[in-house]
Amino acid sequence: MNQSFITDAQNTWCMGCGNFAILHAIKDVIVGLIEDGVPRESIVLVAGIGCHGKIADYLNISTFYSLHGRALAVATGIKIANPDLTVICTVGDGDSYAEGLAHLIFAAKRNIDITAIVHNNRVYGLTKGQYTPTSPGTYHGKSIPKGVSDDPPFNPLEILLCSGCGFLARGYTQRQEQLTDLIREAIVHKGFSVVDTLQICASFLDIGDFYNERVYVPAGHNPEDFDAACRIVGEWDYDGDAPIALGTLYRKEMPTYEGRFRVLQKNDVERAKLVEKIMRERR
């Protein structure tokens, strides 16, 4: 097996794209996990479709390069089939906040032990810059006709909090070290975890300056305090001009879905016997 964690696939992200930071943060976390004894074979990354999804080609671990919007549903199936796996989803904002929003919310509701890293570049990157549910209200891609007004974003973190998400963090691609820590923490958290990652899109929404002026790590924030989490998550609404908190915003341990819903497996012989028994009993 190739021991390197980056494949030979040609990288086709734009220069300056925030995806590089996410790729390397995830890679570093994985290397760390393996050093800590997690078998490399038990780590699975599920990607959506979009610029972000290419990470599946670049990371030399087991990956499922899935559908636009469906990564979380696929990942749920994987985790249920084998709860011993460490399942990480890399998804886009178009991917998981538009096309696949329901799967994200239900993953939170179920509290399945999966980590979703949202590459939130706030545009549809791969299809050339249309607006997403987290684009700034004033951002007009090519699909919004002239003459119509803004379509303000929603705040995905608030929605996630209300959906029962037990771990919520916000990272930023120009804070790669912190991002790495957040991803590690999210993966280690038992239960569903989301790292909304503000990602620079060099081609369509290159707003590093905007972020750099506003991001901060809230001092003394207690992520176990739900109300505090709500407050901090509500500070910036993904549209206007407000401080943008980075870090672990909320954390709560709860029983996981795969723990609650997976039944004890039987082998094929036992199942065949059961079928026989059922038939016998029906006489």
Partner: protein, 556 residues
Amino acid sequence: MADYSVLIGGKAGDGINRAGQVIAKVFTRLGFYCYIYYDYPSLIRGGHNFSVVRIADHPIGGRRDGIDVLLALDATTLKQHRSSARKDAVVLYNADLIHNAEGTAVSLQSIVTEEGGSPVMANTCIIAAFCKSIGIGWDYVEEILRSEVPHEIEKNLRVARRGYAAVDIEKHPSFLVSEEPVGEKILMTGNEGVALGLVAAGLDGYVAYPMSPSTGILHYIAEIAEEAGITVIQPESEIAAMNMTVGMAYGGFRAATGTAGGGFNLMTEGLSLAAMAELPVTVILAQRVGPSTGTPTYTAQADLHYAIHAGNGEFPRFIFAPGDAAQAYECAGHALRLSWKYQVPSIILTDKTLAESTYTVEPSNLPDSIPAQPMNDRNLEGLYERYIDAEDGVSPYAIPGDIGVTIKVNSKTHNPDGISTDTAEGVARCTEKQMRKLPAMRQEISDLRPVIIYGNPDAEICILCWGSNAQLCREVAGHLGIKAVQPLALWPFPAGEVSDAVGDSWMVISVEDNYTGQLAELARNHGIRVDLHIPKYDGRPHTIDGLMELLWGMVA
């Protein structure tokens, strides 16, 4: 030849379906063959429900026109079905709701109330009365009730006893030979057949969103899930169901999902994903009247071509279309097994008639066992590549956790290592690899002897049929001395076998529950002549007599 039809009718909520099952049980234990057709509108209480329990001393799989016993829990039943009851029919009715009718009156409600039972026990009461009226001894009735009634058995027995006492033995030609249990026949719905077939073939996970007429599979698998060690999930939508199923397959679960046409629409994206990623999934598509929401609780066979072509792009798949509970068991098992063997999606096409009708099954006639496709026949020496080029297109299957392997699956066109490609060679190779599976898949279907001939194999007139119509046509063919041909597998289409089975029939007639004649078209597309199509698209299956009449009209 004994051949009787018992119709029991009432309102939704009266337990008509259950009552039909109990009646069928009475006779199955005695060695008879039963078939129950259950007719109900899409609502929870009220409306008119009825079950027709057909009882015969030979294998059956459809309903006849005439009714020998009419059990009316309400006035609507009597009004709607009196005309189809024979002159000498046994008629029992609920005297609390119906007055001055011919037949035997039993005051069901009064009895139930007097015994302190719940309203639904009226059906126990009328069943007992019916048993008495055809001469069945009380002990046997009690035995059946004890085994079949899940709750409050003592109260039910009191009510039954009163019903039993309320009628005299009628002078009905008793078709009972003895009250000793005979043979090992059991009752099974099409949905249960599918479920048990999947379990027998090693199902690990079932994920489904409720939708008639497939919901019975979800309920039944959930019921036995703990004992069978099967994880059952009802997710937020059919899209989630399908993609979770695909994810399970990647994770090493033999998994299936089920739905009807409306939900299947939402699964086609995941079906195409399964194909591209070469992950085995099994989908049950239980057909009902369409387009769109259509008529949720009535039958159709109008999604065959859709099933063949669903999902963007071209890819191999298996499609099975069983015709009764035993075939459902067998086909479901093979669908799951072959999906895994070839790493392609499989579809089990059922229809409402098959899914929710109850059939007599003789377990000894079922295939010995459907071998679960083992997941550990993998040769993972050296560098593992998920899509390594294999002569037959089938690459070794590894699952995450297998020591030392990296498994990259991909919805995009990919190289053998699972990494995306868009070069001309890469794109072409990806298609060719999948298409190379087809010859072996065809052979696999042939090996199953997928085409069944009923009736007179040398007849000049041949019926072509599929799904629930097959058993009906079998009977019709028997009566008319003609031939009926049923392909059990519809894709890859066993053209040679169908062609051989049809032979040089002078006239080939397709009988299908649709407008356009989908099997007829499929056969024609494979060079098989079909002269006539008898369409049926009103949501009701043919009766055996109705179909015979139509056929006479056509061939005479």
